[in-house]
């Protein structure tokens, strides 16, 4: 490889590792993310055209601003971010690994000079005596020291929390793990939608976006759907579908209530209550009494369906409202007597006596109606979600360790000085130095007392 090539690759590598790139890409991600919160995402083109006009629409469309979080440039930015993270970790990790696994056991004097916490003491005691005494003090007040003798000097080294150095790496890897989980979900999972009318079944769902069908491999039956309200208000309390799952002809889950915030899971596919609505026309139950004979009969019929009555007349439900001017459910009934012209009037379900006063040949009593509903379920299959949660756990644990724990180290070197002993004491913490300083001052005092006491 030529020197020029070499330096180009070095420069590229340095660029990938640089913290400046980190800050720049974080700020770019933050700034560009704003766009998608101002321009509503994934709407109909017609909506955008109306809002922005032709030219702006074309520009935004070209820049993929209508689905910007999946645009090539945003994904590139995320990829650059991940690359930066990976490169930076690869570059720094070996150094940290060495620092943890191969600590400096026999520091030179120059090493002490780099420490902000350090002190020198001279005493009459012999180095061997001092070694044992100081080792005991360090063990009692900090942690058991490693003792090494080299070139006539005795070195004591003790440390705490060395593994907290890895907190930052765990944090960074966690972000890559979350990305991985998101990719798995996008590749192997899907988001879909299905509507099922009460009493009917579905074994396919429709993909969001493309609206292509996907086979579930089992069948869902909606037994019923209901809405309940808080007493005396129209504030909804609960939306509930009763769902039965049929697999290989067997009811594996029966009448499972699916409510908002409590989805149904089966074979890794999750169904969430998301919408509802009326399906088809309601069924009505009417009791019709012939005024002349006093005889009653009950009919079940659909809206618009013509029903013969004894005596040759007929009726139908022309219109229906579930709630009519605070009177509750109401039906407009057309009666077609033989010979005369049809008559139209309103019957209220909550006032069964009401129609008697009308004075027609037939008295109508609106007994009940049944409106079938459909339930709308969102469907999600996301095999990557556990990877994402694992990443989140690592992110939380890693950043706590990175922020709040620190690697604290203490060195003591003893050498003999013509019948006396010189002691050098040094300490460092890779984080939260003020707290360590407080501890270290105390610690030094204890060491000095121990030395003087001899």
């Amino acid at each position: 490889m030529t020197a020029k090539n070499r330096s180009f690759i070095d420069a590229l590598w340095d660029f990938c590792c640089s913290l400046k790139l980190t800050v720049v890409s974080l700020i770019l991600l933050a700034a560009t993310s704003i766009i998608g919160t101002v321009i509503q995402q994934n709407r109909d083109p017609s909506e955008y055209l109306q809002l922005y006009g032709e030219t702006t629409y074309r520009i935004f469309e070209a820049l993929q601003l209508f689905d910007m979080y999946h645009s090539w440039w945003f994904l590139t930015l995320l990829a650059l971010f991940a690359l930066n993270l990976t490169a930076c970790s690869i570059k720094r990790f070996p150094r940290v690994w060495r620092m943890v696994r191969q600590p400096v056991l026999t520091p030179e004097d120059s090493h002490y000079r780099t420490l902000s916490n350090m002190e020198e003491v001279v005493t009459k005691d012999s180095p061997e005596n001092l070694r044992d005494k100081l080792a005991a003090v360090i063990k009692e007040n900090f942690s058991a020291p490693t003792i090494t003798e080299k070139d006539g000097r005795i070195h004591l080294y003790a440390e705490k929390g060395s593994w907290s150095r890895f907190g930052v790496y765990v944090t960074h890897i966690s972000i890559l793990v979350i990305f991985l989980g998101a990719i798995i979900g996008n590749v192997f999972g899907y988001k879909a939608f299905v509507s099922i009318v009460e009493g009917s079944e579905a074994d396919q769902v429709w993909l969001r976006g493309t609206r292509e069908p996907v086979d579930l491999g089992f069948t869902l039956r909606c037994e019923s759907f209901s809405v309940t309200y808080y007493e005396g208000s129209m504030r909804p309390k609960e939306f509930k579908s009763l769902i039965t799952v049929v697999e290989n002809g067997e009811e594996v889950i029966k009448d499972r209530p699916v409510i908002v915030n409590d989805p149904l899971k089966h074979n890794g596919i999750v169904f969430y209550q998301s919408s509802y609505g009326p399906a088809g026309d309601p069924f009505f139950t009417f009791e019709v009494t012939e005024r002349a004979s006093g005889e009653s009969q009950t009919y079940r019929l659909r809206k618009g369906q013509r029903q013969m009555l004894p005596g040759g007349a007929s009726f139908r439900v022309a219109d229906f409202a579930p709630s009519f001017q605070n009177f509750g459910p109401a039906a407009r009934v057309d009666v077609m007597p033989t010979g005369s012209s049809p008559r139209s009037f309103t019957v209220l379900k909550n006032f069964p006596q009401f129609d008697q006063q009308r004075g027609g040949d037939y008295i109508f009593n609106f007994v009940d109606y049944k409106q079938r509903q459909y339930t709308g379920l969102q469907v999600a299959k996301d095999p990557g979600v556990w990877v994402v949660w694992a990443g989140c756990l690592l992110l939380v644990v890693g950043s706590m360790v990175a922020f709040f724990l620190s690697h604290r180290r203490i060195w003591v070197t003893i050498r003999s000085l013509d019948g006396k002993s010189g002691i050098m004491i040094g300490g460092s913490a890779h984080r939260n130095q003020p707290a360590f300083e407080g501890f270290f001052d105390d610690f030094k005092k204890k060491l000095r007392e121990e030395v003087k006491g001899s």
């Binding site: 309390k237 915030n261 939380v396 950043s399």
Partner: protein, 284 residues
């Protein structure tokens, strides 16, 4: 006593604390600072009692949900969180002047909630009936509160260094500024408060994602509120990393912290008032 009364007393408590902190800046009298701190503790106790009482009242009405479900409740909880984080930092730093720049956030929050937000206790709509709501709101707001304290310290930092640079380097900054903590300590408070806020915001985003996944089937859907919380998170991540590159402590860090808190407030209020999305606070 009703929660409404307790909230009134809370507001009065924070008002007293705020005035006393201002008085401390003016008088530089240690006793005044101590009184202000006591008033802040009393305000916090009242605020806690008021929130607890509101929970009791909601239970009596037959709803029984944690009082974290509408804009009013979130604002008073925000006020509580800021004071809590402030007092925890105060236990460590004992820099009373900071109170004058942090407690007003809580006081104005309380005043706004009481004067212009509806305080009626309503039952939860189905979308909010989840324990995740509680975890999500608590972690988010404690995170925001950390950023609020950092914001106060950053403002002080900018005032302090601005004056220090202008004045004669031999004579220390006089007047009010003499009781400001040193620029180094303010920078440290800024950093430490963000160190508290950042993991909490991380937890807030994660609990939000967990809830969204549980209730709607997607842990992330780029809805404006989610996206803004991520924007805030990016800004503070940039803040933390910028500290490692030379030159991004002090003034630049203070500005980044101020921008971060501005974005936090936009995430909390602006998104609902200006943009549209799934989260239902504020709009209704």
């Amino acid at each position: 006593m009703t929660s409404a009364q307790l909230f009134n007393f809370t507001t009065i408590g924070y008002f007293a604390a705020m005035v006393l902190f201002f008085a401390y800046l003016a008088t530089r009298n240690k006793t005044v600072a101590l009184t202000a701190t006591v008033a802040t503790w009393v305000g916090l106790a009242l605020n806690t009692a008021a929130i607890a009482m509101r929970w009791v009242e909601s239970t009596r009405m037959g709803y029984g949900h944690a009082p974290l479900s509408n804009l009013y409740e979130s604002v008073v909880f925000f006020a509580w969180s800021i004071v809590l984080i402030y007092l925890l930092m105060d236990l460590k730093y004992r820099q009373r002047a900071v109170g004058a720049f942090v407690i007003p956030l809580s006081f104005f929050g309380m005043i706004w909630a009481q004067l212009s937000l509806s305080d009626s206790i309503e039952p939860l709509v189905p979308a909010l009936q989840s324990n995740w709501l509680t975890y999500h709101v608590i972690t988010c707001f404690l995170g925001y509160a950390g950023f609020g304290v950092a914001f106060g310290a950053s403002i002080m930092y900018l005032i302090k260094v601005g004056k220090e640079e202008k004045s004669d380097p031999d004579s220390p900054a006089g007047g009010i500024l003499s009781i400001f903590p040193s620029a180094r300590v303010l920078d440290d408070i800024n950093y430490k408060a963000i160190m508290i806020g950042f993991p909490l915001l991380t937890l807030g985003i994660i609990t939000g994602a967990a809830w969204a996944n549980y209730a709607w089937g997607t842990y992330w859907s780029w809805d404006p509120k989610e996206t803004w919380s991520l924007i805030v998170w990016f800004i503070y991540a940039a803040f933390l990393h910028a500290r490692f590159t030379r030159g991004w402590v002090g003034r630049k860090a203070a500005w980044l912290s101020i921008i971060g808190f501005g974005s936090t407030i936009f995430c909390y209020l602006g998104v609902n008032l200006v943009l549209s999305g799934l989260h239902s606070y504020g709009g209704s």
